[in-house]
Amino acid sequence: MIEVSKLSKAYGKLNAIQDISFTVDEGEILGLLGPNGAGKSTTMNIITGYLGKTSGKVTIDGIEVSEKPKEAKKKVGYLPEIPPLYTDMTVEKFLGFVFDLKGIELPKKEHIAEIMKTAGISNVSGRIIKNLSKGYKQRVGFAQALLGYPPVLVLDEPTVGLDPNQIIEFRKLIKSLGKKHTIIFSSHILSEVSEICDRIVVISQGKVVTDEKTSDLAQKFSGAPKIVVDIQGPSAEVCQALREIEGVLKTELISEENGEVKIRITHKSNIDIRQNIFTVMAAKNYPILEMGKVELSLEELYLQLTASSENSQNNTEKTGKRGKK
């Protein structure tokens, strides 16, 4: 549905984004993650036609944005980082204006009422936008993006300013919309992205660092699989017994307290050693108090990815300096 191909945007000598490529299939929810200044908003601004690109290509449903902007823009609803609201208008009048602007061919009054209900702003429809709280303003911004039910929704940090209840409702709403819409959604809240999105693209320093399915992401980057066990018994004997199990590569003692040892076991990826651990420990009469898989948390993953991109950037700069000499 959305195809971004070698997209670059430069401001003079500064490359805001470089060779960004990813695709979003119909009905997919893509999460755009990255530190501040990474280039997420720039990418979204180019996809929606607000900013021009320096090079590359963006197509929405096969239509190239720079060649046929009108047709492409008809398919997109955009909520920028700061919701674009005319603060002197009432909510209903503003949505009426956006309805006319987008040339939506639906019964106006009913459609706006429906959208307001979906966004949870029916109770403030007559209020002037200037007088709304941040959370409500954000919701009005979301409502204007949703008007006409465009096939593609691009949302830049849509949950900023919402209270915890509103955030939960919003996530449910995105998930339900995701079935009928293609959504790109950027956030700093990693748990939110992993909960809602089918795929995650991490952007750092203007470049794509990773593009994976959410479920595959942690697995790909955590290296060899690990299990943490909490066993009652002497540490030395327990570790020794564990190391003898087939497939175990390494054992690390995490803690030892009151006869309980916590150990991290790294094992080969094609073997499930949990049954063997049980059998061996039971034979030696060392009760297993707790056993669980370790998955690299998204925070650790994010830090790892963005740190590695910064390191490679620094190395390139150093090499460049040496090169000049």
Partner: protein, 234 residues
């Protein structure tokens, strides 16, 4: 375009600005009408028009200052530029809304004509020709004001910039005389706003003057389109 026009026109009247602009214009136009016509029992409105010209130079920057600057500041330029409406239509919608406010201001002169007509005979050809001249010249300055507004986020800078241009146009002829240079005089003679407007006040309908003001309008609307849409171009 109709959506933009409706919204812009509405916004002039959702705040005091629209009412204030029209009220101030009517106030001064009426004072001049009283001073130069009613108190002398004269139907000659030339002095009224001459003085009102200066008010126009003040009023137009106030009409145009928020047209694009406000969108840049609020972030609604993103809404406009990501909608399936061309930049040209957006600019034209804003231009029309400013012109409508301006023309509402100019209608007071028709009222003056009707008052004169009640007591004697109004020189309708002069009055209507002058109103047309004011409308055309105003259209050109409005398009310049729109362009300047599209260059900045600050309404104040937009206002002051347009005021500056307006005054330059006002004194351009005087400066040209001081320069005492044939080339300068010729160039100023072509681009003059004052001289061309003066023709209208004498009841002279010169198609060249009409074409000139319309051309300036089109040129600056085109500049505004380019300026407003500059970031969207690859």
């Amino acid at each position: 375009m109709a959506a933009v026009l409706k919204r812009e026109l509405g916004s002039y009247f959702r705040s005091p600005i629209g009412y204030t602009i029209i009220a101030i214009f009517y106030f001064f136009a009426n004072i001049f009408f009283n001073m130069y016509c009613l108190s002398y029992n004269s139907g000659n409105m030339s002095s009224v028009f001459k003085n009102t010209f200066l008010i126009v130079l003040f009023i137009i920057p106030i009409i145009t200052m928020k047209t694009f600057s406000e969108d840049k500041k609020l972030g609604t330029d993103k809404l406009l530029l990501t909608s399936p409406v061309s930049t040209g239509r957006i600019v034209f919608g804003k231009y029309l809304s400013a012109m409508i406010i301006y023309v509402i201001c100019l209608l007071i002169f028709v009222v003056h004509g009707l008052i004169i007509e009640y007591f004697s005979t109004a020189q309708w050809s002069v009055i209507l020709c002058t109103v047309l001249g004011l409308a055309l010249m105003g259209s050109a300055i409005i398009s310049i004001g729109l362009f300047i507004s599209s260059l900045t986020e600050s309404q104040v800078i937009a206002c002051v910039g347009t005021l500056g241009v307006g005054f330059f146009l006002y004194i351009m002829d005087v400066l040209a005389n001081l320069a005492n240079n044939a080339i300068v005089s010729y160039v100023v003679g072509v681009f003059t706003f004052i001289q061309r407007f003066s023709n209208f006040t004498l009841g002279i309908f010169n198609p060249a003057d009409v074409l000139y003001f319309l051309s300036v309008t089109c040129l600056f609307l085109w500049f505004t389109m380019k300026s407003f849409g500059k970031n969207s171009r690859s």
